[in-house]
Symmetry: D2
Subunit: 462 residues, 4 copies
């Protein structure tokens, strides 16, 4: 997850530009030239239509929308001005006054729900500070937050749209510069706790089946001034408090941790799936948390997305997915929309094998390029991601139904299904018994791993 | 650890070149022009002398040699022909016939111990296949192995040199192309077990206080043909067998796992410290294993060496160190000798804080550049590494004695020593109590982290 | 290009294994279970058939084989034992005795031509040392080389197969450890010259329309012992000599330089397209050289393949292509077969726009994974690459015919087609005139770059 | 160079916080608790003193200040709020109202010159938009700019501080999102020209001996919508206009281009030294431009700083240096202060060999960490960089005076000083003559490159 909070402050047309003032257009039409996106099939050349995503179409026993459970990110859709470290935001957001006020915050809500309706996405995700501003006092901050939450609830009820997960932004404000629950300053820990309490309350009220922790500042800039052990202990204490609080209020949603190795920090403690699982095991938290895996975070950690998914699945800890893609030649989080069919196929293969999401979904934690600053680009971007995942789903279903991949892998390991292999798996073999066995057999000859053949086969399904 | 086994097969002067034949020089002098290396102090400009490493000098309460416990790697010193993927070995090894025979293997032993004596290193490490060749049968392989072990034992006794840790090479032979204990072929698992049994036997006989697992092939080339869960289960079974076997023969040495993310495999399961710890926790192995951390493997995983050391230390799992350095602009294991004073200082700071090694040491898993192919380069390389660690030790001791760094860090976290911070650490605070507290305080103001000031201070110690 | 020369020396079944001895099978059938590969169309599930590559099918006005001009690499097909820095070769090559003899070299020739015939590839590439061994003397080395060249010529005539380009291996032998034409040792420069003279002679004799320089050792391990200026001057002198020599013998083929940033050296002078062009311009060589661009080398330099192609094309210097793909999460040259349809489409788009190859072709500088060690894997690998490029060609032709991409780009820059933009392009505008102009216009408003829309459109063609 | 323009807009204490209001302190004391920094020698433990930089001390024939020609960056010192993509600025700047007004811009000038005086740095660098804001119209923008320039001139005269180079910010404003001189919109090209004209005027007026181009947006986000050839042509036209304009007004300062491979763009055309030189050669600009090399940009391009310096020096094109350091494990521009002694030594070695700067200097294009947000951290950071370069200078001077490195390299290439080597260098050798020569000599034997020995020797100088 990736909230470029500041970017939303200023949009280049926002300073007195007429285009910006014109937001007293009919409130039901913030995207006046964009139709509601519908499925038209692969032969359509209408860019404002799905060519592959057909929500009600049944694939592998479920509708596409049930499989994919798409989510949109409030931060990228509503609050990302598309700035970068070298330049101001470019995004045209005529509905947004650019002010950090409750009014402006409330005004954004119908825009977002119109977007969800037009793009036909059922779920959304948000941080507390995406939807409402920092106040003069913490109490005022919370008060404004819950007012916006109330409006979100109303719009949920009116539109049928649902919250996928909520979270708190514990990385944007300067008070979190040295960490939130890992801050050297205990008052900052308390502020973090206060935000999380309220964000869990809101998630509970909005019926969100999940709540996510992303620790962009939970790490260090340098070890030279850091007590890593103490910080990680504090992080664990923080998560235990969240678990306890949820229990106390009867919130039964799933908690997620989202791994990422770096950016903004030099190192974040939740650096990849294995690091998260190690932490959760060490501090007795594994039963309470699953992972929210993101493609671009996986590659920044030096792993493929499918690797991170399998690591999580093998620990029964894959909870949800932040759908995007990175540029592997670039060393930061580009958060591009997922349009690579190989990538979406690889994700859907794992999801189908896992039996699909329980509480999670495919949340588009992805942003348009800074050069794609017009509102319609929001639609192109999401359409592309949704169509790519629809293709990935259909290809994955075909691969599984066909069975040739699974058969190959099953056969490849079949020497463990009986004889000495079965002894190894059952625990009855020892180094000594295997030493004895090995000295009595012909030297083992390997069969080819056939990677190239299997890569060709994969292409045949595309 | 890094055995470039093949490279040693052929050395370019090895084919009928007179220089190679001349190894019937007096057996006590394989390095005829190299003196025994002694400390001469920082003003010396003798390249064949230590300028900083003074073995008996007391630093922070112990002699330098006790602190540093240097080890030399049999594979790099004796068996690394300095080939690379694009070129043949270049190393001049006039004592080596280039043949994969027991005789040649036995001939190398006195050379290595002469090297240890001249360079004044007390410990060494080896793989089974470094010291003796593959035979026609597994039984013959083991037989040759134990003959060389016997000769090593004799030389240990004669010279007082000691084994730091032993290991088995489960990555060089084609039979391990698809993994050793993670091979899809159960017979290969059995072969691995047989090698490890014998390598543990040898380590036990040679009095080695540690035994290392490095899983260069314990991973995958591609997930397309891999059952990751089954492979990791097999890896855990394998390590449990090793633990059980050690117990059965009364071997009480420490087991180590050595993390590395990739190369030779696309992904190795023991990819970094956190991944190893997660695995060890999941499979109930954490009490039996510590980590052997290598600088170049840390950086290939995207981490600093000091990060990996602290992760291991915080889990009470730092066992030993493979001393080298990488080139962070290069994406493979360059295994250069550690000559960067910042790097050695950072390692020694952690070691001193941990209280020093118990069973482990600083094993130079480092090789000369391919262009440094003369025997004397072996000496330059090790002298450089030893002097750099001696400087690192002295600087680290000064830093700790001076106390300014520790004081800064202690003060930085002091808000957790009392009040709300102490409540957080004691577990008496909750999200609700902290929410209440936070609403009642002034907004927290951070003190600077002073990273630049501390970096300047570090330079003052150099 | 990537000659893992040593790896071929030993194959694990090569030492006395019966499978290896059995190479006195009928010499016309080295791949007895592999049929000649033919086009069967996308519905075929025969792995030993092309599903997309239909050599005589006309696409965009030419047959697929004329467009693609596939080449096979002698080094990977015949001499790559599939070893890596941590392990011996695994490749089964029953026709190969494992000896570095002229006889064994001559025996490989019919195997290679049988492979070319069965896989239906028209061209091939080779280094001098791929096809024949190092002799006792340089004269003997050359003599053996020309004997094998003679046999290659015979087989070319018999089979109709053709040489795409030749080259000399100036990186494998220890004498080149410090460089070939950039060696600090002038005698090594002379040896390099001698090899290149003979390799050009052979290329001329075999009718090769191109000759390639790849400078794996033309760079440095460290600047600490290097005179970069002098080395680069020597490199330029060397290339001028080659140009002069070609002229003197009437060889009119195209010279190529192949960029790669590192591996085996820390830095190679020919690091990417721009570095090569800069060098060629500085030393007056640009009229004589074009570039041979490789995907995996592009990504190791931090560039996309399409970037490197466009840089070369814009300088009218794209000569030939080494077709493969890398793994961008891995920091070395994995030389995988190109099976990614996005990648092949991007290459073919540029090739079609350039008007196709003149002297060059798509040479598979790609190797099977070490785990794919059976002879049939050679076929799977090449089939996959050929089918992927066939798909890329067809998609690219469709994109160009359709014209929507080109139209978008043309329109995007249309402000330079007239008015102030035309003044800029014609050279009639100045800073002052533009300053004056800019102060008189409304602030420029950008249109969206529509990257996401175009990425969706690209997916529509797949 | 790196202007994080937006970050300065808001500082967290800036919104109504008392600390921020207190800037009506005596205008002569913006850094009230910071003394003027003076040399106190290596034994001092005063953090607000130089321990190594002694401006008037003579080293290698010149004073340290003449050698080092330190510059401070207006953008980092005055305008960098220390925000990052995930969080707001943290920097405390009590003198700054946070407003984008001329008044606020004018108010910053005395602060900066007080900083230069207290830190004892003689030179500075700036972008147009650092020192003055964007106006309602372009004319107004220029007007405000020249008012601030006038004030800068006054302060230069009063303090003796000097401009090192000026530049225009052509990357921050949304109008430059698709490029400045490489924008697809010709009006944007005209705006760029207008800014550069005025920035050259200002640099001329302020007596700046250099003017820099950094093309953060002169590249592409994706090739999918880009006409690279046309864009690069436009870039060249732009630079020619600047050259012509300078001539027309009698400005004789040196033009610089600053290489960087990416960030903010996916690819920038000025990606590294070689790419810049290639471009300058192609378009006939090499006589008018030199390079401004930055360490962090070098490493992002995959090169060491010393590599980039040598490439530039060998083309007689090293003009100036942006002094900083990166974190090689991190894929973006961290712009840390240069405190690594190895790094500064390597830079100073090249500078001394080149004979020192002519028009250029060591400009600290470096920023404090976001966690180091207090004004005093600006001083720690610059002191650390200045001391590190002072040490680098002294070490480099010692190395050159001592001569052992130079002697080693000279000897290593001595075979080119006579005989066949001299024939090669003189151009009298040919492939044929060398082939003949090579067949008549004994096979060349290499001497060791002694990299390890030389690395030890380098440590001896530290």
């Amino acid at each position: 997850m990736d909230s470029r909070k500041k970017n939303l402050l200023v949009s280049w047309l926002g300073r007195g530009n007429p285009a910006r003032q014109s937001h007293n257009l009919p409130m039901s039409e913030f995207f006046p030239n964009i139709p509601t996106i519908k499925y038209e099939g692969p032969l359509s050349d209408n860019p404002f239509a799905f060519h592959h995503y057909n929500p009600e179409e049944i694939v592998a026993g479920k509708s596409m929308k049930e499989h994919l459970r798409f989510g949109a990110a409030y931060w990228h859709c509503m609050r990302n001005g598309l700035g970068d470290p070298f330049g101001e935001g470019t995004a045209l957001m005529p509905w947004d006054s650019g002010e950090e006020t409750l009014d402006n915050a409330l005004n954004r809500v119908p825009v977002f729900f119109e977007f969800l309706s037009k793009i036909d996405i059922d779920y959304y995700c948000f941080h507390d500070r995406d939807i409402s501003p920092e106040g003069e006092t913490l109490a005022q901050t919370h008060e404004m937050f819950h007012k916006v939450v109330e409006k979100m609830e109303t719009f949920q009820n009116q539109t049928g749209k649902k919250l996928l997960w909520g979270t708190a932004c514990l990385f944007g404000h300067p008070r979190y510069a040295h960490g939130a629950s890992t801050s050297p300053n205990a008052d900052v820990f308390a502020y973090s706790a206060s935000q999380v309490k309220n964000a869990i309350d809101a998630t509970h009220r909005l019926g969100g089946p999940g709540y996510t922790f992303w620790g962009g500042r939970e790490g260090y800039g340098s070890l030279i001034n850091t007590d890593m052990k103490r910080e990680v202990d504090h992080l664990a204490a923080f998560l235990h408090m969240a678990v306890d609080y949820a229990k106390s209020i009867g919130y039964t949603g799933q908690f997620y941790i989202e791994p990422k190795p770096r950016e903004p920090s030099t190192h974040q403690y939740d650096s990849d799936s294995a690091a998260c699982l190690n932490f959760l095991r060490e501090y007795g938290l594994l039963e309470h948390f699953k992972l929210n895996i993101e493609t671009n975070h996986a590659t920044l950690a030096g792993h493929t997305m499918e690797h991170e998914l399998e690591v999580a699945m093998n620990a029964d800890a894959l909870g949800s997915i932040d759908a995007n893609r990175g540029d592997e030649l670039i060393g930061w989080d580009t958060d591009q929309f997922p349009t690579n069919i190989y990538g979406t196929t690889n994700v859907m293969l794992r999801l189908l094998k896992m039996g699909g999401f329980t509480t999670g979904g495919l949340n588009f934690d992805a942003k348009r390029r800074r050069e794609s600053h017009e509102p319609e680009d929001l639609f192109h971007a999401h359409i592309g991601g949704m169509d790519a995942f629809a293709r990935g789903l259909k290809i994955a279903a075909k691969i599984i139904e066909d069975g040739r991949f699974d058969e190959f892998v099953k056969t490849r390991y079949s020497s463990y299904d009986e004889g000495i292999g079965a002894d190894i798996e059952s625990g009855s073999a020892t180094l000594e018994s295997l030493d004895h066995y090995a000295q009595g057999i012909n030297p083992p000859q390997l069969s080819s791993g056939r990677q190239e053949r299997l890569e060709n086969l994969l292409n045949d399904y595309l």
